[in-house]
């Protein structure tokens, strides 16, 4: 099995890896790049727990080959926060208790991010259909829908204190000077 050498951008960082042709992008993220935030709930594109954004489009990382990624850019849940500052979606998921076990949460966050990028003010129905590819078995989706709605409002009219909350405690060493504005 001839390995494929791939140069790609993951969460803003240039990354090179070699992988076997049959490895999925999810395998590569989790097993080669140590980014285990994307989860494998099914491996067949039915649960959305591995949702990531590739070249601006939401995809299931289990439905792409690692070999396909050359020259592309990938965003995963690990890149969602701006250093110690959470993305408003992350903040609202916490505030609205939109997670219980949390294993589907990374996928929901990425799908919600993709939704809000194309529709800044979605209705409840639009949120529900946009998130239909993400299965959650704990919450019944109620609090997730509320959190996404609240995050949309927050992004449209950021609270005076800023768009996100500090992750608590001390700032990461080196501070958070160069991070680009997200959200």
């Amino acid at each position: 099995m001839a390995a494929v050498l791939v140069s790609t951008t993951v969460n803003g960082d240039a990354v090179e890896y070699s992988c076997a042709p049959r490895e999925s992008l999810l395998d590569v993220l989790r097993n080669r790049l140590g980014l285990t935030g994307s989860k494998e709930g099914c491996g067949t594109g039915d649960c959305g727990a591995c949702s990531v954004i590739v070249d601006g489009r939401l995809v299931c990382a289990c439905l792409m080959l690692g070999a396909e990624m050359d020259g592309r850019t990938v965003e995963t849940v690990e890149g969602l926060a701006d250093g110690a500052t959470l993305h408003p979606l992350q903040t609202k998921f916490l505030e609205h208790a939109a997670l219980q076990c949390g294993v589907c949460t990374p996928g929901f966050l990425m799908a919600s991010k993709a939704l809000l990028a194309r529709n800044a003010n979605p209705t409840e129905e639009e949120i529900r259909f946009a998130l239909a590819g993400n299965l959650c078995r704990c919450t019944g989706y109620d609090k997730i829908v509320r959190a996404v709605s609240a995050a949309a409002a927050e992004l449209a009219h950021p609270a005076k204190s800023g768009t996100g909350k500090k992750t608590g405690g001390k700032k990461a060493a080196g501070g958070k000077a160069t991070g680009k504005k997200k959200g």
Binding site: H96, T105, T167
Partner: protein, 754 residues
């Protein structure tokens, strides 16, 4: 009441608030480590070969080619897991379920496993294992399995609970009966008698995280297991017994758990991972695929049942009878018995009986699923209640209110109830605005009730105070959805300190004493109780330290608002000592300050719920849509209301999926046809409306804070609530779940013609 857990109607400062959970940030940033997220140096990839046959004799397994494949480090079969169970049949069943022993009992039953240096080699190795099967006749339907002449699933089984004790094998592993009174007399008193039969198909918990573990066994018998589980101690005890390890030398760490709902209260492939690791002498990571989760782990039962209710025209139920047939998969269990215990628990009945048959079939070993066995019985009972209401022309809510169990009622399964919430949830439903909302064409409303026991059990907690006065709380029940927040709140409440000062962790099995599995909605109830007592134990020590500091008798020191206060005429002028001050001086006043508690948490309060559902049915396709849904449930005391609501909503959503679309579909060949989320159709976000909740708080007198378990009860009413709504929307009485479009359309055609 077991011991001094008397509920006191206290004012709470922290409990009842909606604080942020301590594990939240890790879970929204991808940092939280679940079962498949851990790695060890030198780890191998484990994989399991599973039977494609529903029932087959395994004549031989040839693993020689797989063993010779470069990169394969171990291959195991049942021969590598010798029987060390010494006549413990439950343990033997677990052993046989994790690796077939001479016979494959269901499609998906493990027959061999490999550990290799990578996934690709492991995949190839599985293909090189040759299993010589002799296919045997199989049975997958519960009613078929009970017929004389059905293929026998477990030849060793003789039906328990019948007289005289049978001598021949049967698929009926157990018959159990609950109830009281005189049924014949009761039915004779009735003005109307309604009798109906029901069937429910098998459903799976459908947790999003597949089973996963990382096992490491050293040649000296010391072992570690990282695993996604609801019961790390259960894993430790079972795996140690099956592998012949010493309990203390197998350290089990529960990972973050990606949903369980009962499905992770059992041992599945973990002993296989340990056996692979022992044989390869390297760590082995074993992660199941979604297909393996469906085929090889435990769903809940499929059932068949007959329900009979007799009532007077004034609504008084004079007699009630249930005959329940539950399939337990290929291994005996008590799921039918639990169905019989729960069936009539909502009502105050003079003459009542529930008989249950636990039945074996060639399907996976049935596991607990959220209020296990109760939803099916409630589907039959609560549907029949609506039929009775219609028959006598009474409002369904009024009929239930009239017969609702109350404090002092003798439950159909034996005990006499203390203060309970069925009446209040029904009254709340009756008065809920949802009940008066208008309905359109093809729309209907239904309601139903549900019951669950709730468990307590063995629990222990360590509470350690750090030198700066912050608090570590170590618990042994797994956090399945916010428990670390709730338990931190309880500790903060007792100690009189801010929530943020407490850090709660789920300890591994080497760091804390035994805790029963997190099941039966016992996490917050049991660990909450132990946390209260551990905190009080720490307060005792804190008072002693303050007394020592002040050199006054300890009975002159009280603990209030996070501080020691001296009281009485002599000492009233002493400035209070805070937790921080006492903690800072601990080294000089007697050493580390801690509180501990080890208990059997008795007195779990039973829980009731009433649900209201509006549905619309397309009469041309049978497709239905939930328009509005309301959950009303008694929580005893809601420690963290967000997560109580979350439990209500999640349970309702699972019940809705069960009612409408979820089912295990077996082919004539006995193979599962839909082992994936594509065709095992759990509710997606766009399938559901907002799920309204109403939390009632009828304190459990056996818990210091009044807590009842909240996790399970609300999966019980949805099946019947939806069937009742559907009946009102489409004029058809559905008696078979899932009430999927083809079944509903067929019923509409049969009822109303084409």
């Amino acid at each position: 009441m077991a011991f001094d857990t008397q509920y006191t109607n206290q004012e709470f400062k922290v409990v009842g608030k909606r604080v942020l959970r301590p594990d939240g940030i890790d879970k929204v940033t991808g940092r939280a480590r679940y079962g498949a997220d851990m790695n060890a140096p030198g780890q191998l990839v484990g994989r399991i070969l599973r039977s494609p046959h529903a029932h087959a004799k395994i004549r031989a397994i040839d693993t020689s080619k797989a063993e010779k494949l470069k990169g394969v480090k171990a291959v195991v079969t049942a021969a590598d897991l010798p029987d060390l169970t010494r006549g413990d049949m439950g343990m033997y069943d677990t052993l046989e379920n994790c690796m077939a022993r001479g016979r494959a009992l269901y499609d998906g039953h493990a027959v061999a496993a490999v550990a290799a240096i990578d996934a690709d080699i492991a995949r190839k190795a599985l293909k090189l294992i040759k299993v010589d099967y002799e296919i045997l006749p199989h049975v997958t339907d519960v009613d078929e399995a009970m017929k004389p002449g059905a293929p026998i699933v477990q030849p060793r089984i003789r039906t328990v609970g019948v007289n005289p004790a049978p001598t021949k094998p049967s698929n009926i592993s157990q018959v159990s009966e609950f109830g009281h009174g005189d049924l014949d007399a009761g039915f004779a008193e009735a003005d109307v008698i309604v009798e109906k039969s029901y069937k429910t198909e098998q459903t799976h918990q459908g947790y999003i995280e597949p089973h996963a573990c990382l096992a490491s066994v050293g040649p000296d018998g010391q072992a570690e297991l990282w695993v996604t589980t609801q019961g790390p101690y259960m894993q430790r005890n079972t795996c140690a017994a099956l592998l012949g390890l010493e309990v203390a030398k197998l350290r089990v760490t529960a990972s973050e758990i990606g949903g369980g709902f009962g499905g992770k209260t059992h041992v599945w492939m973990e002993p296989v991972a340990l056996a692979l690791s022992r044989k390869a002498n390297r760590p082995v990571k074993l992660v199941l695929t979604r297909e393996e989760v469906f085929r090889g782990t435990g769903p809940t039962c499929s059932t068949s049942m007959d329900i009979k209710i007799g009532a007077r025209r004034d609504g008084t139920i004079t007699a009630a009878q249930a005959v329940l047939r539950y399939q337990d998969g290929a291994f005996p269990n008590i799921w039918g018995m639990l169905g019989a215990m729960t069936a009539w628990a909502c009502y105050d009945l003079k003459n009542v009986k529930a008989t249950a048959y636990d039945v074996l079939v060639n399907r996976p070993k049935v596991a607990a699923y959220r209020a296990p066995s109760a939803p099916m019985a409630a589907f039959g009972v609560e549907s029949t209640m609506d039929l009775v209401a219609a028959e006598i022309g009474m409002d369904p809510v009024e009929l239930r209110i009239k017969n609702a169990a109350k404090e002092g009622t003798r439950a159909s399964y034996g005990p006499t109830y203390g203060p309970i919430g069925i009446g209040p949830t029904l009254e709340a439903a009756k008065n809920h605005p949802h009940m008066k909302a208008p309905l359109g064409a093809n729309q209907g409303r239904g309601m139903a009730c549900g019951f669950w026991f709730n468990f307590g059990g063995q629990t222990c907690v360590d509470l350690n105070i750090g030198q700066d006065g912050t608090v570590n709380l170590a618990v042994g029940t797994v956090d399945v959805g916010g428990a670390r927040a709730s338990l931190s709140m309880i500790a903060a409440e007792e100690l009189g300190i801010p929530y943020e000062k407490v850090k709660c962790i789920v300890a591994d099995t080497a760091s804390l004493g035994h805790n029963d599995t997190t099941e039966g909605s016992r996490g917050t109830f049991s660990s909450g109780m132990a946390t209260v007592f551990a905190a009080r134990d720490a307060v005792r020590v804190l008072r002693e330290r303050a007394a020592k500091t002040w050199d006054i008798p300890v009975d002159r020191v009280e603990w209030r608002d996070g501080k020691a206060h001296a009281f009485g005429d002599e000492h009233g002028n002493l400035a209070p000592l805070s937790l921080e001050e006492l903690a800072a001086k601990a080294a000089r006043t007697g050493g580390p300050i801690a509180g501990h508690n080890e208990i059997v948490a008795d007195g779990a309060g039973v829980s009731f719920a009433t649900h209201i559902c509006d549905i619309e049915v397309d009469p041309e396709t049978g497709k239905s849509r939930i328009l509005r849904y309301t959950v009303i449930q008694d929580a005893g005391k809601a420690i963290h209301p967000d997560y109580v609501e979350g439990q209500f909503q999640g349970a309702a959503a699972q019940g809705i999926g069960w009612a409408l679309n979820e089912e295990y579909i077996y082919g004539a060949d006995g193979r599962l046809q839909n082992p994936g989320f594509l065709d095992y159709r759990i509710a997606v976000c766009s399938d559901l409306p907002m799920l309204d909740t109403q939390i009632l708080e009828i304190p459990n007198p056996n818990h210091p804070y009044g807590i009842r378990g909240v996790g399970e009860t609300s999966i019980v009413p949805p099946l019947a609530a939806i069937a009742n709504a559907m009946s009102n929307a489409a004029g058809v009485r559905m008696t078979h779940t899932p009430m999927s479009p083809p079944r509903v359309l067929k019923a509409i055609r049969e009822a109303h013609g084409a």
